[in-house]
Symmetry: C2
Subunit: 201 residues, 2 copies
């Protein structure tokens, strides 16, 4: 069995969302699974010196807003930026890691639902209650989800995942590793595909 592809992303990242709609099917064509790893881009940005969209000068921010929509339309994926953007994905990421220890398949379904709510419907999913609202639609228990989000072990798990990502060189979203090879950006998916086809070059 070839090793899984590691997929780092921030729930607040439009390009992470776009990649999330494609990466599992792409990987499966080459017999690969995908490990989803929510990550906090704000922490990475402090290290890399990058800026969130809202603090970018208009010449760049305007381009990105246009490109989000254009890229989503090209993929046939619904897209809507929430009013509060970028948003803090700490609670969503904790809920993911809490569930991932119990049921990885469900955790991926939750991640997809969170991405869809935030970036296809433009809903605010930054709060724990909003995350729980989405979790219950998947049949999860609200009280258990909220307890999971507040569990110190889960908080520590997110911190250690973010640290591990930084240590591996993750500085943006989406960010992939295939057998250790790093790929940044949803526009790198054609290169990811070629890499999987050829085994690298």
């Amino acid at each position: 069995m070839p090793a899984p592809i590691d997929f780092y992303f921030d729930f607040s990242s439009p390009y992470g969302y776009l990649a999330s709609t494609r990466i599992d099917a792409l990987a499966a064509r080459f017999g690969r699974s995908v490990e989803w790893r929510p990550f906090l881009l704000g922490v990475a940005f402090k290290v890399s010196g990058a800026q969130a969209l809202t603090t970018l000068p208009p010449i760049k921010a305007d381009y990105f807003k246009r490109d989000f929509l254009r890229s989503a339309r090209m993929l046939g994926v619904p897209f809507k930026l929430p009013e509060k953007f970028p948003f803090l994905a700490v609670q969503a990421s904790r809920a993911f890691y809490w569930l991932d220890e119990r049921d990885p398949g469900q955790a991926k379904a939750l991640a997809q639902a969170l991405f869809h709510a935030a970036l296809a419907e433009g809903r605010d999913v930054s709060g724990a209650e909003a995350v729980a609202d989405i979790a219950v639609t998947l049949g999860l228990d609200r009280t258990a989800v909220l307890a999971g989000i507040n569990d110190p072990a889960v908080k520590e798990k997110l911190r250690s995942e973010v640290e591990a990502g930084l240590a591996r060189g993750v500085f943006g979203s989406p960010f992939f590793f295939i057998d250790g090879e790093p790929f940044w950006g949803s526009d790198r998916l054609p290169m990811v595909e070629r890499w999987l086809e050829t085994g690298g070059w």
Copy 2:
């Protein structure tokens, strides 16, 4: 006749170089010509707040150095970073605009030769004499090239092209416009291709 594609780039930009090896053939398949427009990324970076590779933190600089080589190998294009990188492309850009007013076809050939020297062979092409060395290999007269580089009208032409690019929203290299639609990055070439095929979406 459909309108030409505008292709903005900095001679010091690896992704600009990679795109330069592809854009004319791609455009020609859709009956389009390409207007090459050398640009000074340093000026754009002051506006956009972006950083040159050498001032990026290692987590990002290491990734880009790897991605330059990997992207070039994927395209089957020779690549070598010059020791002095990024370099100031003012003289190269002036030589281009001087020649472009006289012979646009020759100006494009000069641009290709400059890119090749700088980023396939890793030569220092930042100085006027180095630019002239390359120009003479195309049959151009050294004295005329050096006079052109120093012509106040040519200097003004470069300034006005950079200003015009900024006014249109150019903040990186390569940067394309197709019928007014902006595209940033060599990894946008598949999207550029789709745009030309479909007329946009």
